[in-house]
């Protein structure tokens, strides 16, 4: 996983609440057995006018010019802002994979669905919770200013606006540590092999039915 420290990028406004994972990456693309290549199909139903299928040449498809990702001023954006409950729905990690593959490194919303929020950290995306008012202000600024960019500083936990004012945000210490250092948490857990074995030995005594083998 890539390290995440400071990121500066163009902001893309997705003015919707309850953006679900089916909308982020529709189910037909979940048939892939790979982690990459989902970017062109991010928000497929909203982004294109036809029905997307895996394996299509996306460059020839008719685009929905009303949809924000298709506006020239937001091309190359890497920070997405949205409304409440972003990422609700299924647990598909294809959703953060698609966002990342498209180029999004940061998502800002007043609230996120739990599983999606968690999946972001595992893939080097930083989800940031700001208050409704702060997010609303960002929507207004982005709308008013072409090329509106933010600087996200994870070690110091701040979002810096073009006028140099800053907003601070909360992030779990452990998640921050993993993201800043690009750590694989399987490796971290395997440092505790002895603890796991000790727990298992105790459990086998007290709850042997949890260790019965079936074939």
């Amino acid at each position: 996983m890539d390290k995440f420290e400071i990121h500066k990028g163009l902001v893309v406004p997705l003015d919707r609440a309850n953006v679900d994972t089916d909308a982020i990456i529709p189910k037909q693309f979940l048939k892939s057995i790979k982690r990459s290549g989902f970017g062109p199909n991010l928000f497929d139903d909203w982004r294109y006018l036809d029905t997307g299928e895996p394996g299509m040449d996306n460059s020839n498809r008719p685009v929905n010019t009303d949809f924000v990702l298709n506006h020239d001023r937001y091309k190359g954006g890497s920070i997405l802002i949205a409304r409440d409950n972003f990422g609700c729905g299924s647990s598909r990690e294809h959703a953060p994979w698609a966002l990342l593959d498209y180029g999004f490194k940061v998502i800002i919303a007043p609230s996120f669905a739990d599983i999606f929020f968690n999946n972001c950290f595992k893939n080097g995306i930083l989800p940031i919770v700001l208050s409704e008012k702060e997010v609303d202000d960002l929507f207004k600024s982005v709308d008013a200013t072409e090329g509106y960019a933010l600087t996200i500083d994870l070690p110091s936990q701040t979002v810096t606006k073009p006028d140099h004012s800053t907003i601070s945000f909360e992030v779990d210490e452990f998640r921050k540590h993993c993201l800043v250092n690009g750590l694989d948490d399987i490796g971290l857990t395997l440092q505790h092999v002895d603890d796991i074995r000790k727990y298992e030995a105790k459990r086998k005594e007290s709850a042997p039915w949890l260790f019965a083998s079936h074939t």
């Binding site: 409950n85 647990s91 599983i115 395997l190």
Partner: protein, 472 residues
């Protein structure tokens, strides 16, 4: 000793170690695996040269991508080549890593959340995870069950543990008794209508109260299944005699002395009398009507005898806006009575409502009736091969077919339309599944969530109808 909630007890029993920042390494007892969210996890293991920690804790089944039509040709019968590769990949991964799989032609194959409990692979007091958000279903057994992403699937395979932060405790209490014709599905939709789809975010929900106690274990699965639609990763119901009776004698359940010991432990799986919840919501069961969703989020729901609400009466501008957008997508106008909404298709199935009791309830309504002329397709998809077999023994398949329903092979089917079962743009469906998101059942498709009995009633009438008044 301090009083604990059921969730506290389940949590405490599985903490391997607590990290400095308050997160915990949580031990996982059962890991259910399916074809869509696992290939990249197995690939990760291979790349890192890691092996599964405990193969006996995992159980795999293909369900999302399998066709629900004739199975006789096995995997060759999957006409979509990309879907076929995914199912083949699961078969191969299970062989390579030594994991038990109920393959496509195994009689025990079915939707992962149906087969876990059916096999007794889900037991009270367990931690159960699966790369699927509806893993909350298994909480019906007083298990701590939640959905995980693919990175976590890999983490559980490699370490049998997950790094987790404890949620807050929420109690949703449904007092009193439900009216006749009102089911677990209606209860959970009413709860979501009340607290909203983000109402449970950050919480583990325990469902309690007399109305919940009187639900069957299968009804409790329906209820916990949709905890995730209320934003909670986990939903759960305390153990009682019904739970224990249900588990008894299932293939993966303990026997003999071990059974007696387990039973004693399981009987402790309820919240203590003085346990403190961070939040409590109370509903009156007697007031719950059969529910129908009218929008593109499960919280957009009303009783069958209500009308579609008017976004102009909603004071919150963000909410009003999403209501307008939903009505536009659904092709509906505010203030229309729900019972006047005509439907094109009916889907009875999914991990929410495809167990034997669901099929019995739908069959009872369908019996002696005919699917209305304006309904293009009404399909019944059992949750597993064993549910299908049981239903056929009871003659339910004949009732359905006679009434004009199609009787299919088990799988997720039109719940998420990854296989050939789907809605065309603009088609309207009465569905017993759990998500009515835009495009969920096919691009442009319009989904209304209902109970199995209400879905059957809609099939017969051609529009939504109060199942309690049918036949009057």
């Amino acid at each position: 000793m301090t009083s604990k909630t059921l969730y506290d007890k389940l949590w405490d029993a599985h903490v391997v170690r607590t990290n400095e920042d308050g997160t915990a390494l949580l031990y996982i007892d059962r890991h259910l695996v399916h074809e869509v969210t696992s290939p990249q996890a197995f690939e990760g293991l291979r790349i890192a040269g890691r092996k599964p920690w405990r193969t006996d804790a995992a159980l795999a089944v293909p369900d999302h991508n399998v066709p629900t039509t004739d199975r006789s040709t096995g995997i060759e019968g999957i006409t979509d080549p990309i879907a076929r590769i995914q199912v083949e990949t699961l078969d191969k991964n299970c062989i390579d890593f030594g994991i038990t799989e109920f393959g496509m032609t195994d009689k025990r194959q079915g939707i992962v959340h149906v087969i876990g409990p059916e096999q007794g692979a889900t037991l009270p007091g367990m931690t159960v995870v699966c790369g699927d958000s509806h893993t909350s279903t298994h909480g019906a057994f007083a298990a701590l069950a939640f959905g995980i992403g693919t990175s976590e699937v890999e983490h559980v395979l490699a370490t049998q543990c997950l790094i987790q932060k404890k949620s807050k405790n929420m109690l949703v209490r449904v007092d009193g008794q439900l009216g006749s014709g009102v089911t677990a599905k209606d209860v959970v939709l009413a709860i979501i209508g009340r607290i909203g789809t983000a109402g449970g975010t950050g919480y583990a929900i325990e469902f309690g109260g007399d109305a919940i106690r009187s639900l069957s274990v299968e009804g409790r699965m329906t209820l916990c299944n949709m905890a995730i639609e209320a934003g909670a990763r986990a939903g759960m119901v305390a153990v009682d005699e019904k739970t224990i009776e249900y588990v008894k004698g299932r293939p993966y359940a303990p026997t003999g002395n071990v059974w007696d010991k387990a039973k004693k432990e399981w009987e402790k799986l309820h919240s203590d009398d003085n346990a403190v919840f961070d939040k409590t919501i109370v509903l009156n069961g007697a007031e719950i009507e059969p529910q129908v969703t009218w929008g593109t989020s499960p919280e957009m729901v009303s009783g069958i005898n209500a009308s579609i609400p008017d976004p102009d009466n909603e004071s919150d501008p963000v909410k009003s806006d999403s209501m307008k957008r939903a009505l536009e997508y659904m092709g509906l106008t505010a203030n229309t009575p729900i019972s006047e909404i005509k439907i094109d298709k009916v889907f009875i199935g999914s991990c929410t409502n495809s167990r034997i009791e669901d099929l019995r309830a739908a069959a009872e309504v369908a019996k002696g009736n005919k699917v209305a002329g304006n309904v293009k397709l009404a399909m019944v998809v059992p949750g597993s091969g064993l549910v299908k077999e049981q239903a056929e023994q009871e003659g339910l398949d004949k009732i359905f077919v006679k009434a004009g329903f199609e009787w299919r092979e088990p799988g997720c089917s039109m719940c998420l339309a990854m296989n050939a079962d789907r809605l065309e743009a603009g088609e309207r469906c009465a569905s017993t599944s759990n998500r009515n998101f835009e495009g969920r059942q096919g691009q442009g498709g319009r989904t209304h969530l209902v109970s199995p009995a209400m879905a059957a009633a809609a099939a017969i009438k051609g529009h939504f109808a109060d199942v309690r008044e049918l036949g009057e």
